[in-house]
Amino acid sequence: MENEHVYLQVRDELRMNVNQQPHMATPYGQPQPGYQGYPQPGYGGDHVPSGYPAQYAPYNGPGSAYQQGPPQGTRGPPTSGAPPVSGAQNYSQFGQGENQNGPPPMGAPPQRPPVSQPYTPGAVNLPGPQHPYGQRFGAPPVSMQHMTNQMASMQVGSTAPSPAGPGYAPPSVSQAAVSAPYTTSAPPTFTPPTTATSQPPPTEALAQAPPHSYYGALPPVQQPFQNAVPTFSSAGPTQPQAPPPVSPQSFPQAPPISQPPFSTAQVHPGPTQSYRGPLPSTQSSFPRPPHPTSQPSAFPAGPPPTSIPSQLPGVMQPQPPVSQPSPYHSGPPTTSTGFPPQVGAPPRPSFPGMQGPPMASQGPPMASQGPPMASQGPPMAQANHILPTQPGMPPGPINASLSGPPPQPGMQGYPPQQNGAFGQVRGPQPGYTGPYPGQPNYGAPPAAPASAPAAPKRLDPDSIPSPIQVIEDDKANKGSEPFTTGVRGQAPPLVTTKFQVKDQGNASPRYIRCTAYNMPCNSDMAKQSQVPLAAVIKPLAPLPPDETPPYLVDHGESGPIRCNRCKAYMCPYMQFIEGGRRFQCGFCNCVTEVPPNYFQHLDHTGKRVDCYDRPELSMGSYDFMTTVDYCKNNKFPQPPAFIFLIDVSYNAVKNGTVGIVCQELKTLLDYLPRENPDVESNIRVGFVTYNKVLHFYNVKASLAQPQMMVVSDVADMFVPLLDGFLVSVSESRVVIESLLDQIPEMFADTRETETVFGPVIQAGLEALKAADCAGKLFVFHSSLPIAEAPGKLKNREDKKLVGTDKEKTLFQPQVSFYNTLAKECVAQGCCVDLFLFPNQYVDVATLGVVPTSTGGSIYKYTYFQAPSDQERFLNDLRRDVQKQVGFDAVMRVRTSTGIRATDFFGAFYMSNTTDVELAGLDCDKTVTVEFRHDDKLSEETGALMQCAVLYTSCSGQRRLRIHNMAVNCCSQLADLYRNCETDTIINFFAKYAYRSVLSSPTKNVRDSLVNQCAQILACYRKNCASPSSAGQLILPECMKLLPVYLNCVLKSDVLQPGADVSLDDRAYLRQLVSTMDVAESHVFFYPHLLPLQKLDVESMALPMAVRDSEERLSRGGVYLLENGLNIFLWVGVSAQQELLQNIFGTPAFSQIDPNMTSLPALDNPFSKRLREIIESVRAQRSRYMKLMVVKQEDKLELIFKHFLVEDKSNSGGASYVDFLCHMHKEIRQLLS
């Protein structure tokens, strides 16, 4: 059995296991719980003593629980003979908790795996297994790491856990603890519990070798726990008999009790219990119903196999789902049942069978329905269950089912359900099963064998890891508790989850996200795993209103206190010694004297007494005031300036941008960024228009009329005036308004079609130089600059080069002029934002050089038409002008000895290898930093990094923004895999690949991406997963989405363009992605697709997203898709009239105007809610997204389909399923 793997058997060859790290976690998790418990208690202080005991108790509890588990195992299948043996080992490994599970799994390893696989999907399994086995312990661990973690956190928090609470909670707690615990508590706790002796600790993942072996064993165990167990449990418990559930419940309760101590001791015992209480109820209610339905079918059929077969034979698609679900359940059941009974061969066969059947049988409907269901969670599960039935049912039913009570409950219940699931085998399981498409497969497997022959060999989309599911699980598990940053090595919630952050010494994930929160201790490990070690840093990220912005720290005239050697700034990692007279740098270990005015006594723990009074000693992020030493030329900077440079050539006038910009600026100028909202902005403004010559404007307050100064000497640009060019808005308002009124008139009849570009930037640069300040240029440009001037370009668009070795030249600037210019801009602190309105090729690759080197942005509005694009442009412009921005910034990332920041990605310039220079740094800009080992890291101290950004604020103050981040270091690969974040990895990969296209053919870039990804997964498979058939694809839980996301990157327009993608678009996207943060890159590569027909007008919640595949679209539905750049409203041909009426004000599909860019404001709740949703989605993104209405079977649908990234793309991009198979093949090659 493999932990939390989804086993997918595509063919006999292909078996996919998604290894849910959770499993890993679970084992850890358990230990962790202890940890957390410990630490927390510690935190608690008073509690500490009690806490510890409590924790211990909990452990014991768990242990007991586990033991209980075993009992359970004994009861059920687990005990089932053989398995136990192997299982036993496994169990031991797993951590005592799972022993129980282990045994069962062991017994039925094969089965479980299958089962587990289905479960892998994780949550499902978890719930199932735990409950049944009681072992919430087992279950929890089993349960997705996320789950667990979340759970853990939940419990801690009290709220979240509560639902899952009882059962899960404990486990989760344990998991949460896991990370921390590892080192310390874990072992002890474990040891006690596990009789396993040595193994226990190892089991927890700590033990490397053992772990592996354990994994081998454990994984199964774990998986079993989660997957298998869940399945089992679910299947077993629910259908099989009330008893199991009962028992599970009882278990849960019992566990809860035991657990409660953990959680309770630490946090809120009460709540947890209460939760438990509720949970069970909910779970029971929910889960069961669903289970009954779905599972029943399967079950009814008899053991999984039976059911499956039946289904398979029956209705291919519809049934398959059914069958699948059933399989899932059945699978689990089978497993569960199997534990005892099936344990034997059946399960495995099931796998193949599963896959087979699922694939074929499930077909699209299932998948579509399934996944969403799954993702939603319990309800989903139910839905799934229902779905199965639904298969037969058209979308309608599905919807109904989805939208129906189950989903909602599910929604609400999610946590509960999961919890329930965990707690209650059945409940959760259903949910899980549902959610996990895999489960069906698993379930199917049994059937598969039978069905295999009949079924096509395709992999069932529902059986493969679903992004939606993962997102939903994370939301459910982590969304309701604040994320505290104090614990090192703890992965934050996903970017798709809303959460609050509490800064307890590490930077908020809004500022820094890492690919791995457990870094390998040495470079060998790092090389072996191939997991990129990177941090995505967004230094000035905006915070939600409920989080405190970084404090401003002033260390007085001597400036911020820093390490003497490495110059790191004072931070929580500085260790004060010698009674506080000196401090030792956490980065380089150098000891530095504490300046007298900074001296403070230490308390008995060695902490400074004023530790909590000083943000720089207790927080992860804060600002420093700087002294004049930190300023350019040792002079305090002038307030920055904004210069607006407007193309007034024929094209620009004709498409309306000139008028729009001028009109907008009149009001926009009142909203220039400022630090104190009550005070006028210090930023001065200037205006330039240009075609092939430049027009500067003197808008001095004393003038009656603005004066225009034409500079036609574009070969040698200069600024014709000083006084009166950059002015304060309030002083010169009248003149400025007059100017903005007159510009459109003056050029209304222009015949000038040629433009320049280089001189325009030079002009702005020179103006800033003349004014001796930093600033930002807003360039509104329309065409390829072909006029005779420096930086003149020629049209080099040549699609024939696409796909050749010369393709890279298309991404490179065609002249070096702009590189030089960019350098000068950076030196002056001149940031360039470029707004493009092209009607044809403008060579974004070249024009974008300066913006992307100066921390600027590019906005592109191809074929701009005022009526339809104005809103988008204006919103972008407003935001761009108003957003907080720093100038003349230098960013430096310091790290612990042992690693070093080696590579940087983003919009900046580097004149040396360490300093990232950003002429402008706004709140949307992200820099991705890659780290490499240059020595060993210590597990004790972990890896520290400090990102210091020196910048000039919009009021002209010179400041330092400091972000500190500490992650754990691990000597076990498993730890690495268990604590990484796929979204961040993808962010890194995308930026890396997008930069590589500058120097390598895109095909090579794609290949190397695939290769690296395969190596990562192969390494996991080889080192962290239990041995299993080569035909199985085993994915680490944390990375189970890696393939799907990677595929999205691979088939993105930059790396694999379709015929209709222009070079400009590719260059544009390439540059765009380079500054994206994780949230943006996530949605960019995997668009967010919302089924509106499931929208609950009453609820604030969004309907659960569906996977990006055409198969998931219902002809009767209306869907909203957004990727951070566009919003599409897809209308199915047979969408309900009422729906259409509500949205468009017309019941007729044919009367919907596909050209509309905003929805009519109709007075009905649905319309209101929908528009609210659109607005809120827009508000989340840094760029305004234009709404496009796409009617099914309309021409435009092609564009839309482009974003259904799980499908095969027109440009030859593989579908998710195909890619997964391909990836598997690659992995197998690596392994063999």
């Binding site: 010559v693 034409v710 036609s712």
Partner: protein, 741 residues
């Protein structure tokens, strides 16, 4: 026969010609022995209220290399309707329009009193006058304000249809667009980058749009007029606009750090002005009027760096070859001047500053194009204001006393060739049979371009007698010279003025007495002085003096020698340039004043009388009025000054004293009214600091060296080491004797 005096006067009145000799030695050898060459001063546009222009084209000799104009000296066969050219003896038939010609019905050009005649011809469309103001904004606020007012005022003086343009400069150069409504537009250039005319025209959008095929080809004048209209607009159309624009002119906004001069891009500003005009209105009369308050300090044409610690070049520096920008800048401005001259555009320089402004380098702009140079201390002085106003003065016909785009052609009879011209003109490099190989002044051509003319513009023309000694001219033979001046009248008409003069040949051996008596001392003095100045411009100072000393021994030479035209001592290079500039263009009378200032004495003893320019004339009970052309000094003697201080003039019983005080003022006022440029007016008294202007001019017959030797003679001693006339004469006599030996 009238006296020579009368003859000379008569000729001058009729033709504007004064010859050094009114009888010409008939052979080359004799002519060279006369020392003073056969030469004349010619005032092409001498005001002739009594000369109505004729409204037809002149009749030209048909010989291709002659093309002389029919004149009273030609022999005419009325019956055959044929005339013989008196220069080349070509026989030409009259054009059909002269069919009615007969002895009694002669066209004006055949009448002797019309030896100078003016034709109005129709050639192409009339082109308006163009005035392009090039204004330095690196001025003190007060100066700028005064300048702005003067400029605004000048708009009312311009002919309403004249085109006007405005360029301002400081660190940058702005060409203001005048046609636009609303926003004031200007094109800006940086002051440090030299641009080719083509670039300037491109940048000003004066090129045809690329669509029309040939890129980079300047517009035909026709289209150009349309294209350029954004910079050059009829005064009547943009009067208000321009007045506002001028009113809003600000001082150059770029900060001037301590210890620096403002950055002044005069060179590029001029280059752009000239480029604009040559791109739009080539061969059309135009004035570029540069108003500057300091030296060019950056870019091509810079005269001095912006470091105040480096002073502007002095004669001393120049002699030591220590003026690093001099040659380069001079070369630059010469190139500009030549471009302007080729296109018939003239450049005026109005330089008002206490220090030098780089006239030395820039003078060629005006000298070659016939432009004015006015030098003053500040734009806020009446000297500038009045002078500037006087640029736009009108004649008896109400027409501006200015003409543009003149071309002067000289034709001579066979015995004579033209050696060159000294005056505000450039050579057109037209070779012809009458061009002498022996160059004096601007030679090697028979045609000169005079971009801008006033009625006072006077050229010195030098001839060479080429007749050989062994080929005597027949008795009674006359040598003839014809001056043909084509120009654009200020009323935009094209006109041609033809002056034909003739002088008798005389055999120097037999008729030396006659020749002697025909000598025009004044004209010769000026002509020789011009030669001296011309050489001084191009040669080392001492050499010129030596040359002059060798050439002539006459009274005025003493003063000429001491004049600022030749003597650079105590003058800045700019001042020297300024004085020389005016010297080579003013008419004879004015030139004489320049050479030997006039000194009038006012006293109770009689009417005002001219007195010797000698320190002995400075007496306590006299008021002196000295006119040096550039300065007008009223000097009150010691006693007079005391009386005046005592206020006697206020008392009724001393009315006569009051009148005495008033008399020189009135006379001075009269001079001030007409003189261009307006002289510096100085009212001083004995012991006053300004008395130095007088003291420096008078003959230092009494100095601290000889005061007591001269005994009781009254007069004012002059503290100088300069030699007095007496000493000079003594030396001269010695020299004359020794050289004769």
């Amino acid at each position: 026969m009238a006296t020579y005096q009368e003859f000379i006067q008569q000729n001058e009145d009729r033709d504007g010609v004064r010859c050094s000799w009114n009888l010409w030695p008939s052979s080359r050898l004799e002519a060279t022995r006369l020392v003073v060459p056969v030469s004349c001063l010619y005032t092409p546009l001498k005001e002739r209220p009594d000369l109505p222009p004729v409204q037809y084209e002149p009749v030209l000799c048909s010989r291709a290399n002659c093309k002389a104009v029919l004149n009273p000296l030609c022999q005419v066969d009325f019956r055959a309707k044929i005339w013989a050219c008196n220069f080349c003896f070509q026989r030409n038939s009259f054009p059909p329009s002269y069919a009615g010609i007969s002895e009694v019905n002669q066209p004006a050009e055949l009448m002797p009193q019309f030896s100078t005649i003016e034709y109005i011809v129709q050639r192409g469309p009339p082109t308006p006058l163009i005035f392009l103001y090039v204004v330095d904004t690196c001025l003190e606020e007060e100066d700028l304000q005064a300048l702005k007012e003067s400029l605004q005022m000048s708009l009312s003086l311009l002919p309403p249809n004249a085109l006007v343009g405005l360029i301002t400069f400081g660190r940058m150069i702005q060409i203001h667009e005048l046609s636009c409504e609303g926003i004031a537009k200007s094109y800006v250039f940086r002051g440090t980058k030299e641009l080719t005319p083509k670039q300037i025209q491109e940048m000003l959008g004066l090129m045809k749009p690329a669509t029309s095929g040939q890129q980079g080809k300047p517009l035909a004048p026709h289209d150009a007029a349309a294209a350029s209209c954004i910079f050059l607009q009829p005064v009547q159309a943009v009067d208000m606009n321009l007045t506002d624009l001028l009113g809003e002119l600000q001082r150059d906004p770029w900060p001037v750090p301590q210890g620096k001069r403002p950055l002044r891009s005069t060179g590029i500003a001029l280059s752009i002005a000239i480029g604009l005009l040559e791109g739009t209105f080539p061969n059309t009369g135009a004035r570029v009027m540069l108003f500057t308050g300091g030296p060019p300090t950056q870019g091509p044409g810079m005269v001095v760096g912006d470091e105040l610690k480096t002073p502007i070049r002095s004669w001393h520096d120049i002699q030591k070859d220590n003026a690093r920008h001099l040659k380069k800048a001079t070369k630059y401005y010469e190139a500009l001047a030549n471009r302007a001259a080729v296109n018939g555009h003239s450049v005026d320089i109005y330089a008002c500053a206490l220090d030098q402004t780089g006239l030395l380098e820039m003078k060629c702009l005006s000298n070659l194009t016939g432009g004015h140079i006015v030098m003053g201390d500040s734009f806020n002085t009446s000297l500038f204001k009045q002078t500037f106003q006087r640029v736009f003065s009108k004649d008896y016909n109400g027409e501006f006393r200015m003409a543009f785009g003149g071309t002067l052609e000289v034709k001579t009879s066979r015995e004579l060739k033209i050696s060159g011209v000294i005056g505000p003109c450039v050579s057109l490099n037209t070779k012809g049979p009458c061009v002498s190989d022996n160059e004096m002044g601007v030679g090697g051509t028979c045609q000169w371009k005079i971009c801008s003319l006033t009625p006072a513009t006077t050229l010195a023309m030098y001839f060479e007698v080429v007749n050989q000694h062994n080929a005597p001219v027949p008795q009674g033979g006359r040598g003839a010279v014809q001056f043909v001046t084509q120009y654009q009248h200020s009323n935009t008409q094209r006109r041609i003025r033809v002056t034909t003069i003739a002088r008798n040949w005389a055999d120097a051996q037999s008729q030396i007495q006659h020749i002697e008596s025909s000598f025009d001392q004044e004209a010769s003095a000026v002509l020789m002085a011009r030669l001296g100045v011309f050489r001084a411009e191009s040669e080392e100072g001492p050499d010129v003096l030596r040359w002059l000393d060798r050439q002539l021994i006459r009274l005025f030479m003493f003063h000429l020698r001491r004049s600022p035209f030749l003597q650079v001592f105590n003058n800045s290079p700019d001042e020297s340039s300024y004085y020389r500039h005016h010297f080579v263009r003013q008419d004879l009378t004015q030139s004489l004043i320049m050479i030997q200032p006039i000194l009038y004495s006012y006293s109770f003893y009689g009417p005002p009388e001219p007195v010797l320019l000698d320190s002995s004339s400075i007496l306590p009970d006299r008021i002196l009025l000295m006119d040096t052309f550039f300065q007008l000094v009223i000097y009150h003697g010691e006693t007079i000054a005391q009386w005046r201080k005592a206020g006697y003039q206020e008392m009724a019983e001393y009315e006569n004293f009051k009148q005495l005080l008033q008399a020189p003022l009135d006379d001075a006022q009269e001079i001030l009214q007409t003189r261009f440029p307006m002289p510096r007016y100085i009212d001083t008294e004995h012991g006053g600091s300004q008395a130095r202007f007088l003291l420096s001019k008078v003959n230092p017959s009494q100095t601290h060296n000889n005061l007591y030797a001269w005994g009781q003679e009254s007069g004012a001693p002059i503290l100088t080491d300069d030699v007095s006339l007496q000493v000079f004469m003594d030396h001269l006599k010695k020299l004359a004797v020794s050289s004769a030996a």
